[in-house]
Amino acid sequence: MTSLDEAVGSKYDALIQSDRVHGSLYTDPEIFAEEMAKIYYTTWVYVGHESEVPEPNDYVVKPFGPQSVILSRAKDGSIHLLQNRCAHRANLVCDAPKGNSTAFRCQYHGWTYANDGELLGFPYKKGYEGADRSQLGLGKVPRVESYQGFVFGSFATEGPSLTEHLGDAAGEIDRLVRLSPTGKIKLTAGWLKHKAKANWKMLLENETDGYHPQFVHSSVFAAADSGIGALYSDNADAVSRDLGGGHTENDLRPEFRRLGNVMGWFGTTEDKVPNYVAKMRELHGEKADEILIEGSPHLMVFPNLFIAEIQIFVIQPLAVDETVQHVTAIQFEDGEEMNRRLLQQTIGSVGPAGFLLADDSEMYERNQRGVQARNPEWLVINRGANRERVDENGHLIGYNTDEVPIRAIWKHYKTLMEK
């Protein structure tokens, strides 16, 4: 290790301690630039879902860190992540948000690319005699892998596989898709894009913070007679968990099992969605009731994919103090009876006017103002450190209101930033 590396290591040692983190981690533009290089342009980042490009030659423009990339399905069905930037002089190659096309043509000088990124041709080619076209394709995210239809990309040409990256978070994604009567979900309901003047880690930490709902969301628990609040009290059987690799969750299953209600996780009863429950029983037999009692995960996949039971959130950092949260309703393949409910619950709770997320977003922005303060400069993250324990799979767990997930995020963040 060189002395410079040691200096970088000690910088984060000073800023990230076991029981507190320094406010500058949310405000320093240099740290933000380093995060983009070491996190967003190195590790696996969630980009989109295969159901957004169901047919050959479908494409959709998706956020990737502060930029956007084209997620395309080539004629042969393969999935590609292309930089939306012409190899000639950097103009835009795709100006539509989505569509179906075998090729993209840059409108500046007419260079044309196949939907796998290969250069097909340039106008007046005599001016390019001897050019090696294979070197003039669109920039590509070098590694692209999918898990249960979730497409991730990594700008690092080498490194852990997606399966290694996901680790035990993969099992939680399995738990989501098995709620679909075909084992497949669709992200076809469009996206809400909710902007906040806050650092992206304010969102990341909030997603599995089981301490805040009773306070931030008390207005909706009262106004809508919602049962969510009880899941995030110190008396609930639900737990918070460090899944490793910076992935975290609020595991609500112990509480749902204790209550033992089929569809209770969705705040409904089986007579409201009889066709769906019948399909699930036909498919899963005796195991169906367990699946329908345990419900869907509340899982934060580091650094940018949040599965909030019935929604998918994607965190997009734009600047040290500006973040967009993209969110859509999960839809089940062959699950019409559920899909309208999933959609309507999503519209009610999340996005800019959502009963829940408008207030979460207010908290991100207040936090961002707070971390500008001097004395104290630290954020305290030690809640429940006195009572965390290791579960049967070797993961650290705590009460659902404890800050086990926040400590897990910072532990992993530090290993990445010190590389």
């Binding site: 469009g190 894009k193 008390s218 207005s219 969110v327 800019p352």
Partner: protein, 174 residues
Amino acid sequence: MTAVAEGSIELGTIAQAEAEQFLYREARLADAHDYDGWEALWTDDAIYWVPAGGESAEDPNTQVSVLFDNRSRIGTRIRQLKSGKRHSQTPKSNVVHQITNVEVLGLQENGDTEVVASLLAVESRERGTTFWAGRVEYRLRRVDTDQGSELRLAFKKVTLVDRDQPLYTLSFLI
């Protein structure tokens, strides 16, 4: 459907001046955060809708909207605002709605009068000043009440000009 500048008894449309007065009143109640007064304007079958980007403005039943409230959800929204714990409205935004380009288009099949207008709502809170601009479609209905015949709002759709772009929190009554 032909545009009707003045109210016509035969057609049953609402006159331009009466429609405008109603839209201005709705805007004033929203600006004043007079939640009860604003809620009382709606019919029982009301829809209050702010589409998101993409195909959301055409298909609220398969695509997410920023807001798509039926009457019962309007009630929930108002109860939440009145709880005093709607943090994104504590303190309340300072807002002024400007309603212009009001046009009475004609009658819906059910007898509601269709009115369109342009909206510019300027919101100020600690985050900064935000401009919310868009086209608004209203459906107004004359109902009989104890106070005599009054106008009510059966439908309001606010199609924001920047609905394809990321939006800040929208928790005042737009």
